[in-house]
Symmetry: C2
Subunit: 200 residues, 2 copies
């Protein structure tokens, strides 16, 4: 059993590398990540980085997990504090679009990564798709809970609602980040109210 | 003045290279394009490709223009044959989503390219953004025409409608291509009817 101090230091170093890797990935993409570039960025030796992430693929997958973890912390868990149904669904959407509006320079790894990885089969793509699917499943669950609570009509297709909410987020990301549209966040929020409110 | 035959041959060669470049770009991205890779793919010499496209950047921009041209031919011009208003708007959307569903393997250059280029300022990004903006402006015009024809309520915000239709297309591209969802096309079509029909 390694002494606790060394282990804690090792974990800290890993976290520092992962943080740098995540910044790098949101700038140059998951495919732009490499142990060499990361060593340069963190001032470590290649073998030092390699000791924590045995391969480029392991590094890429660890970055996806770290992004997923932060997304949960910022969007998912705070929303669980709110009552089931519309309050929780609204919070999930609002924290999601706020996050996207805030990370405009970096871009969302779930969205940018999807475009990058969608024609590159393999474990990295699978990890990213699993992560996105998990998040969309959570959103879908919030929709069905809102139906169960009587906040949304029971006969609505929850998959259709989830698809449309996802579309609003993707349009926000595309139009605010790529087209530099200043009104995209407003359109996304109004879209949310319309999807949920005006077809009752 | 060069003899017509030589000129026509030159144009043909340029078209062949451009066709190969477009296929390549939808697979490896605009940034993956290079004169070297393209020469290899077409069996030409690097200097041969270089004679038609003086730089990598010129090649990338030519590919965007060619994609734009094909998009116009397949989606925009056929829709102009239909009466102004809802018939034309419906055709624009339907031909657009059909095209995306058909090019699932290749991906849409407008969407994939946006995610790739959104943090790479320069003439290539500008060319792509201009192309996408032109297309979204055409969609917006179709919405306002539908309002002028009395097919849609005059007090609707046409930018909001355009944003939501764009979102449906982006969700189709993301969920069908990245998540391999079989129902995405159905959701996109139902979304169109819902955006336009159920808030009158």
């Amino acid at each position: 059993m390694p002494p606790p101090i060394a282990s804690s230091k090792g974990q800290h170093t890993r976290a520092v590398i992962l943080d740098a890797a995540l910044s790098l990935a949101t700038q140059v993409g998951l495919e732009g990540l490499s142990i060499g570039v990361l060593a340069e960025g963190t001032g470590m030796s290649k073998s030092g980085v390699f000791a924590h992430f045995g391969s480029r693929e392991e590094l890429q997958i660890s970055v996806i997990r770290e992004y997923h973890h932060r997304f949960e912390q910022e969007v998912f868990f705070p929303s669980l504090q709110l009552p089931r149904g519309l309050p929780r669904l609204r919070s999930l959407f609002e924290l999601w679009v706020t996050r996207i509006a805030q990370e405009l320079d970096a871009g969302c790894l779930f969205i940018g990564g999807a475009a990058e990885m969608d024609d590159r089969p393999g474990p990295v793509r699978d990890a990213l798709a699993a992560s996105v699917s998990l998040w969309l499943a959570a959103l879908h669950r919030a929709v069905t809970q809102a139906q169960a609570e009587g906040h949304l009509p029971a006969d609505w297709d929850a998959h259709q609602v989830t698809f449309e909410l996802h579309g609003l987020v993707l349009a926000l990301h595309h139009e605010a980040r790529f087209l530099r549209s200043a009104s995209a966040l407003t359109h996304a929020r109004r879209g949310f109210e319309r999807v949920l409110g005006q077809r009752a």
